[in-house]
């Protein structure tokens, strides 16, 4: 199948498919590794241990596929066109970023051509620009109350610096203008030097 199974990077269904094929390929690889180890007259337990890196990778690919699939399926339930559009951009970004980070797996399985890695990088840049105007609205949608978020940097009103200063002033070290350690240690030290 290598060379024929080329992914359409702008089509989410196609991205789900390549994640599925990557998972299948890595499960197959791990299963073959166990068989090879067994062929060397290793016990099943040792064959398993000697294939553990491949096995973890296979599980990781399976989970990654399930996440991409569930995200894509969720889009099918969203009727608001503006929200569908922005979530679709996020889903593509999630899927393409994963392909880029694991491009070796996809290329090894014949699911991705070298030239497509560059295309994916370019597409990711486009998606970043598309998301930029909606970035704050996308995090606002999580709807965290300020008290619950409990973060000076993440305040809804964006008044970071004045509150950062106010927060610092509450530090117990600021309870007195002169900390007792000055009188206990530094001042006596001075007299000894």
């Amino acid at each position: 199948a290598a060379g024929q199974t080329v992914v359409d990077i702008s089509d989410l269904a196609s991205l789900v498919d390549v994640y599925k094929l990557r998972a299948m390929s890595l499960v197959e690889l791990a299963a073959n590794s166990i068989q090879e180890e067994l062929g060397k007259r290793k016990s099943h337990a040792h064959a398993w241990n000697n294939s553990a890196i491949d096995l973890v990778r296979a599980s990781d690919a399976h989970c990654h596929y399930v996440v991409v699939k569930v995200f894509t399926e969720k889009l099918g339930q969203i009727s608001d066109p503006a929200i569908h559009s922005v979530l679709s951009t996020l889903a593509q970004l999630y899927a393409l970023r994963g392909i880029k980070q694991n491009s070796g797996d996809f290329m090894l399985a014949g699911l991705l051509k070298g030239s497509q890695v560059l295309q994916i990088s370019a597409r990711i840049k486009e998606l970043l620009s598309q998301l930029r105007p909606n970035a704050v609205a996308l995090v606002d949608s999580f709807d965290f109350n300020d008290k619950s978020l409990n973060s000076v940097l993440g305040r809804y009103d964006g008044n970071v610096y004045e509150n950062l200063f106010e927060w610092a002033r509450k530090s117990p070290l600021n309870a007195t203008e002169v900390h007792e350690s000055f009188h206990k240690y530094l001042k006596p030290l001075r007299s000894k030097l």
Partner: protein, 468 residues
């Protein structure tokens, strides 16, 4: 309001409230969530001193005070839906873990899942009313995820119809369970069951560890706090040493496996039933990870539109740091991940509820899929989220290091997910065991169902060459 952040909100191309409704699974749920949030946040009983400025013992003390108030308020407002209880709790404790987490999240669910009707009569209402405060003591100092390696023993004595619970070695001392150190007076203890001279593997026992009135440790019990940790400052993770402690036969959780009066052992219908509570927690962890990442992204992205730094065009004013492509490249993939994991959290919770419903009706067919999926997704999401929060912290530059950003606290309270309820590599290997087994079944011509069904599909059928 900061003018930059006002402008950002004006630029959005979609309605924020509609998306919030989607994330909450409906406008009614959004409304109810906000009602609960408002109940807590407007309640002076839940005011707190900033924990960043408190010592650990003070943080524990403050958390216990709030937990006690929380239990009363839950009754007062008649909040009984488990999801609403969890949300109320997360508002009270601002998403920090708290001393009653194990009681509410593991002890009660274990009773619900594994106790007989008689045991429910004996334990549930006292536990519901906090007369019994329980935890779930599984991990030992020398043993973690590999449950068959646990050393604690429960030996049945037919003469007295009691189990003798014992920690035979130092490495068998129970270690890490939340709430065990100072809060709980009972523990569900996982121990190797011995009866009629035969070991029948791991089973769960309800062990009283402190006097119900005085709260003093009971004879044969050594119990305490394991000390400061990486985060989790509000929780008294504890140790427990059992020195030939005798408990009645009826304290073994016997909904599935049983020990008769004479010591005859009756096997459960499935070995995996023992781990139902862990599977429940693993399925919650996926959503919890998503929430931690969503919070981190909220902090880092809002800050990135307020913060101005350096230059893109020489001579022009300092731009918002979110206008730098590198900042977008750090944060937007994580925002996408937060959404992906949020939807995944909803999916795994629904799957858990559906399959446990089937299990309660006697259908165990999808249990292996649930175990494999919850283990793998718990590992996959917690690994990814731990790294992602660190990226968010760094994306906030110097201020990300301040505890005022909340990012250090989010990080230290979420990374333990990588090791508790199963160390992640071991979780991944459990998933792999199911995948390889399914692959071999597919090769042998068997039909597969669930998320692994693709392993039975012919490779070339699905992906056709696409135009570039």
């Amino acid at each position: 309001m900061n003018p930059d952040i006002i402008r950002e909100r004006q630029n959005a191309t979609f309605d924020v409230e509609t998306l919030t409704n989607i994330l909450d699974l409906g406008p009614e749920k959004t409304k109810r969530r906000r009602e609960i949030e408002s109940l807590v946040l407007s309640d002076p009983d839940f005011n707190e001193k900033d924990p960043n400025f408190l010592a650990r013992s003070e943080r524990y003390d403050q958390a216990v005070r709030k937990s006690a108030a929380m239990i009363l308020k839950l009754r007062e407002y008649g909040i009984s839906d488990p999801e609403e209880i969890l949300f109320y709790k997360s508002c009270v404790h601002r998403n920090r873990p708290e001393p009653l987490d194990l009681h509410l999240g593991m002890f009660l669910p274990t009773l619900l899942g594994q106790a007989t009707p008689e045991q429910m009569d004996r334990f549930f209402m006292p536990a519901w009313n906090l007369k019994i405060i329980g935890t779930y003591a599984q991990t030992e100092m020398g043993h973690g995820t590999h449950l068959r390696g646990l050393e604690t023993t429960a030996t049945y004595d037919p003469a007295t119809q009691e189990f003798v619970m014992n920690s035979p070695t130092v490495s068998s001392i129970k270690w890490w369970p939340g709430g065990l150190g100072k809060t709980s007076n009972h523990a569900v203890v996982l121990a190797q069951l011995f009866t009629q001279g035969i070991c029948h593997g791991l089973h769960a026992f309800i062990v009283p560890i402190r006097d119900l009135d005085t709260h003093e440790p009971l004879p044969g019990i050594t119990v305490g706090d394991i000390g400061p940790k990486f985060g989790f400052s509000e929780v008294d993770n504890g140790f427990l040493k059992l020195n030939h402690v005798r408990i009645p036969r009826e304290n073994m959780l016997m909904k599935y496996a049983k020990v008769d009066l004479d010591g005859t052992y009756v096997k459960p219908p499935s070995d995996k039933l023992m781990y139902g509570t862990m599977v429940f927690i693993r399925s919650l962890i996926v959503g919890e990870s998503a929430r931690a990442l969503a919070k981190s992204c909220t902090i880092a992205i809002r800050y990135s539109v307020v913060r101005h730094q350096s230059e893109i065009q020489p001579g022009e004013p300092e731009p918002q740091i979110l206008d730098f492509q590198t900042q977008q490249d750090k944060l937007f993939p994580l925002l996408a991940m937060a959404y992906a994991f949020t939807f995944m959290g909803q999916y795994i919770r629904e799957t858990y509820q559906r399959i446990t419903g089937d299990i309660s009706m006697g259908d165990f067919s999808e249990m292996p899929e649930l175990h494999a999926l919850s283990a793998g997704l718990k590992a996959f999401t917690t690994w990814a989220v731990s790294s992602a929060i660190e990226v968010c912290r760094m994306a906030c530059g110097g201020h990300g290091y301040s505890r005022s950003s909340a990012l250090p606290d989010i990080y230290v309270d979420i990374t333990p997910n990588c090791t508790y309820e199963g160390e992640n590599t071991v979780m991944m290997l459990q998933t792999a065991r199911y995948l390889v087994k399914s692959y071999q079944q597919a090769k042998a011509g068997q039909r597969l169902s669930g998320t692994v069904s693709y392993l039975g599909e012919a490779r070339q059928q699905r992906l056709q060459p696409q135009p570039m």
